[in-house]
Amino acid sequence: MTGRRRPSRGGERREPWLLLGLAGLALAYVAVPLLALLQRAPWRDLGALVRRPVVIDALALSLTTALAATAACLLVGVPLAWVLARSRLPGRSLARALVTLPMVLPPVVGGAALLLAFGRRGLLGGPVYEATGLLLPFSAWGVVAANAFVALPFLVLTVEAGLRAGDQRLEEAAATLGASRWTVFRRITLAQAAPSILAGGVLCWARALGEFGATVTFAGNLQGRTQTMPLAVFLAMESDREAAIALSLVLIAVSLAVLVPLRDRWLPG
């Protein structure tokens, strides 16, 4: 009955065929290669393959470094997103372009740039190494640094979009009622942006988990120290393609285990 009187409601329930078709095409484009992987997977040897020390080391390192990189990105990326969305400081569009660059830059080039900055003979890394003997490359911190470099834009751009979509009148109202700027930021701005911060954090983590080029260029490759899952997969591709597929499946399973519940629990839709 209501459906007849309000055709717009009915329209919402019946999706246009064209959109459905194109959406299905997009989904199939992602799903078919994954199915091909599943079909080529060495199911019989899978258990033994994924229990190898090299896989366990790589998985542990990938999970911890991706988490550490996400924490670092949250710490500095949310404030940066706020500055881009809310402040009136000059040069914001330049700053936004700059923070987007790691998305465009081939990760290998990003890794080389990180070396020029933080390597043993780098702009900043050189003096620090001379003074303290501390070195980012060839250490797990180097992996975190490479991960954070490529994943930061995913967090900043998502949070900035969330902040822009927020209702600024609430902030103004809180300010008129006497809340300090810091209180407004914490109680209103952050609360409003929470879903986008979570979404950005998840994207950032996922990007860090799959990171290859910058890591191999900047941090090197050593089992237990810098060899993450993507690096282990790349080297396995050279010698044992079935093992490489098995490793990829582990990476996919872990990501899905985190992403699916998170999306259902926290993200709209």
Binding site: L115, R120, L135, F138, G220, N221, L222, Q227, M237, E238
Partner: protein, 243 residues
């Protein structure tokens, strides 16, 4: 990680281009030598106008590409084992050794880590790199270390020898085990230290035309050219020895 170098020819743009195009898959350590060989081959009277494309990468990565059906004409990996797998798959026949390459310890100019011999590579204070054991230079380096009885304190296993050389040239590592040809190619940026005679392992490079070569005549001619007196001379200029 692959380096692709196109040489000679230009735009022929006709059917002849297909016959004249020659795709050579070569080990990363052969990059410079094969670029020169390709240029000399294209300039030789018999092959006038040939377009030689050198695809250089880690030998095992190239092998995987060939086994997956990459349209290559010639394969020149850095060890017999890699070639044997391609032969076993029926993708190549009659491989011939054409060059040998010794291993050397490479250190950045000025030897900042003070490395004197292979025994120093067990020092955890030094930043030491090897090739990953999945590629020939990595498995050969491990053989050499085993023979010398040295447990190297390795900080990184690079995917191919060019990546390792680049790190040493840039001074990011104190030492690494690479091929003699790499030390020569790096020029002033790198110093080479000989391995003790008992520990040295020599890489022998085989070459073969691929059975699925789109340009079989060109493939055979190029293999013959690499193994000719002129080819040998060019290879020697890059630090390679006779097999």
């Amino acid at each position: 990680m692959a380096v692709v170098v196109s040489l000679g020819g230009g735009c022929a743009g006709t059917d002849a281009a297909g016959e004249r195009e020659l795709v050579v898959f070569a080990a990363a350590s052969l990059t410079d030598a094969f670029t020169a060989l390709g240029r000399a081959y294209a300039a030789a009277p018999g092959a006038a106008g040939a377009e030689v494309e050198i695809v250089a990468a880690g030998s095992s990565s190239l092998r995987e590409q060939i086994l997956a059906g990459a349209p290559a004409d010639v394969f020149a990996p850095a060890d017999a084992a890699t070639m044997d797998q391609v032969v076993a798959a029926g993708m190549a026949s009659d491989p011939r050794p054409f060059a040998a390459n010794r291993l050397e310890i490479a250190v950045p100019a000025g030897n900042p880590g003070g490395v004197d011999e292979i025994g120093d590579l067990d020092d955890p204070e030094l930043l030491v790199g090897l090739c990953a054991e999945e590629v020939p230079c990595g498995s050969l380096a491990r053989q050499a270390l085993d023979r010398a009885g040295v447990a190297a304190a390795v900080d990184t296993n690079e995917a191919d020898v060019r990546a390792l050389r680049t790190r040493i040239e840039a001074g990011e590592l104190d030492a690494g085990i690479v091929y003699r040809s790499d030390v020569l190619a790096a020029g002033e940026a790198v110093e080479g230290i000989d391995l003790p005679a008992g520990a040295n392992v020599v890489a022998t490079y085989p070459i073969a035309a691929l059975t699925s070569a789109p340009n079989p005549a060109g493939a055979a001619a190029f293999v013959a050219f690499v193994r000719s007196r002129q080819g040998e001379r060019i290879l020697a200029g890059f630090g390679f020895e006779r097999p």
